[in-house]
Subunit: 462 residues, 2 copies
Amino acid sequence: MQSIQSYINDNKDRFLNELIELLKIPSISADSAYKGDVLKTAEVIKISLENAGCDHVEICKTDGYPIVYGEKIIDKNLPTVLVYGHYDVQPPDPLDLWNSPPFEPVIQKTELHPEGAIFARGACDDKGQMYMHVKALEYMTSNNELPCNVKFMIEGEEEVGSANLGIFVANNREKLANDVILISDTGMIAKDVPSITTGLRGLSYVEVEVTGPNRDLHSGLYGGAVANPINVLTKMIASLHDENNHITIPGFYDKVENLSDAERAEMAKAPFSLEAYKKSLDIDAVYGEEGYTTNERNSIRPTLDVNGIWGGYIGEGAKTVIASQAFAKISMRLVPHQDWEEITELFKTHFESIAPKGVTVKVKPHHGGQGYVTPIDSVGYKAASKAYEQTFGKTPIPQRSGGSIPIVSLFEKELKSKTILMGFGLDSDAIHSPNEHFGVWNYLKGIETIPWFYKYFTELKK
Amino acid sequence: MQSIQSYINDNKDRFLNELIELLKIPSISADSAYKGDVLKTAEVIKISLENAGCDHVEICKTDGYPIVYGEKIIDKNLPTVLVYGHYDVQPPDPLDLWNSPPFEPVIQKTELHPEGAIFARGACDDKGQMYMHVKALEYMTSNNELPCNVKFMIEGEEEVGSANLGIFVANNREKLANDVILISDTGMIAKDVPSITTGLRGLSYVEVEVTGPNRDLHSGLYGGAVANPINVLTKMIASLHDENNHITIPGFYDKVENLSDAERAEMAKAPFSLEAYKKSLDIDAVYGEEGYTTNERNSIRPTLDVNGIWGGYIGEGAKTVIASQAFAKISMRLVPHQDWEEITELFKTHFESIAPKGVTVKVKPHHGGQGYVTPIDSVGYKAASKAYEQTFGKTPIPQRSGGSIPIVSLFEKELKSKTILMGFGLDSDAIHSPNEHFGVWNYLKGIETIPWFYKYFTELKK
């Protein structure tokens, strides 16, 4: 396998250009205006899997966006790796904060990426990271280096809750049968600190609606005399945290796993500079649940964040109106053992119960998923660890992530196999934000590292 | 003056059609996209004042939208009435709640308006009510019934705070000299319960901005570890009222006039059905400051309402983002003796002081104005009362309104004259809301009543 580096050197420009073409398609699954683009992206993925050496590729219909399935089976007696990724992206707004248009990719140097980074929506999450696997496969097939079977399952609804993937997986257990699932949709601690994500938070995402009077009212004639849905909504949301930033929903913490002091001490060893963290975000202080560190707050503790709020007059100037309705999108990140459907129900019951008279409240669950913790003594973890050692010269650190990939716990339930999360992005890559980017170095390092995982996994499985 | 009713009968269709043409122009002062329409409306007002018999009409430039000034001076020894109104309108959104387009006026019957009502933005506030005065003048001049001098001052920035009217008035005291100011920009209790507004609330309107991290963040990777500007904003706004719906800004109530039990008992005599009020708004309960009735809450007590709030992802579907910024528009209705500039300063100081670490807060004052109370023993009030008796057959009830016409207290200060608020709209006319309308009966009744005011005011002044 010595030739992977030289293969990358010879094909580097093409690898970048192919990804750039993929990033030009605005495959925003949350917005139905982009339906055609999302479907077109699935076609592009199909062709690239065929070109990379898959024997059989198909676009599998679902009730939502299709799933692209591809496979190369070289020997039924050899292990099988199932690669999961997604071809849809987050909405790009607020557009005015992008330095270049989100679907016109550009490569620019940054302090952390002196070799350049690709700026575009989806560059890191997840088109760039998913496409590393396609190019790693191309290398292995074209150099006769594929040591085992491989299957790809690339979906188009990850950013909107993967509602149809679960059904697809449950209905295709045999087709998707595998020995390990490999996903690159997370990050690593730093370019010189490789890490493997061993825990993910679960997610419950809801939308709430507060309705007061049957029409917008003049705030002078009615102000003070009727419940103002926006005032009420702020009061209801504010009450969801107490003065220690503990979430107040009854039963919310009942199943939360409390880590031992030893485990917390182990976590605290991960390199982290609070000053650098604050500086990178331009904030004068961090903020969160009393009694926990920043790294604990965003990994082993559940949270409740408002992701969007709106109501009343939000245009230029002033309008003296009492809105008839106010809305918010609220998500809760959950930790292992919290069941997302149970938490969604607890939220709904509680939120409706705290509505004052004079308004009606609706809670609409959007989507959710369970948290996940993977053991570090599995064959998959060991193979990944050896792969990083090979290309980074360092043993990767196991790391809990605050993010969610709801489908991971479903994979374990339906397919009975462990997922290995080999992420090559950085926290500073601004995924879900304006100016999302992915380092050229990281992209190529991912392509270089993945074939080693196949090699070691096949060897360790023997 | 017996002929006013027959003059209205003869000219009714023209009176309606002229108003409808005026309502077709979207003179939205809050939105600079409509600048041309606002300016065009001033031209139309100028021509209609000339046609109604003014000797001299001019469009007076300001730093914002112009003021249309018109006058008919018949004898310098006779009293002078100054009519004030505004030709700008509120933004029409939310557009999807209108049953017909806001700038395509239609006349339709309603339960309260069996003679039909004109549905359009500005129908009541204030184009319709202002135009009653133009048509009343036309009647008086064309029938040789004008008993005194008259001046018109019609502005185009009332809905955005009248910032330039104050300057204009201060610079033109002599030109605007008068014995009484007459305004129709308020309502009456019911079609069979005429009333004269004797009190208005003041207003302080601010916009607040909460900034956290320097960019939108992924709510999984950062959730729980940094201050979420939307969560913080909801907490800050919620804290502005206590559990009794008392406003918590230190010093806010210091200058509030507390009415005597006798005065409150007098107020309580005004006809009011809480059941009908709740039914008309489709609410199961009213909501407001403990210890006060609905009519007190929206007239003699100050309030704090959020008029608009926004931040984060507000599109279709879900986005797991922590927004960098969150915003709200907040207005406070004030009662006599509360100084709006002082209250704005108290708000700003308090709101900035309650910001937690991890965010920065900006408060931007939009505009404001003082409250006003007018005595019921003035010549102007008596003349208005007699005019209503003449056309309604009933003595009007003096009434405090919850709305604000900030300029009224400025008129008193600069021009040393009292303002009489003869409103012909109904609370149910949905001003500032979708489906704003103005009853045809009310419009014509206003035109009929106004000339009697001129007659009695001139007689009583002798």
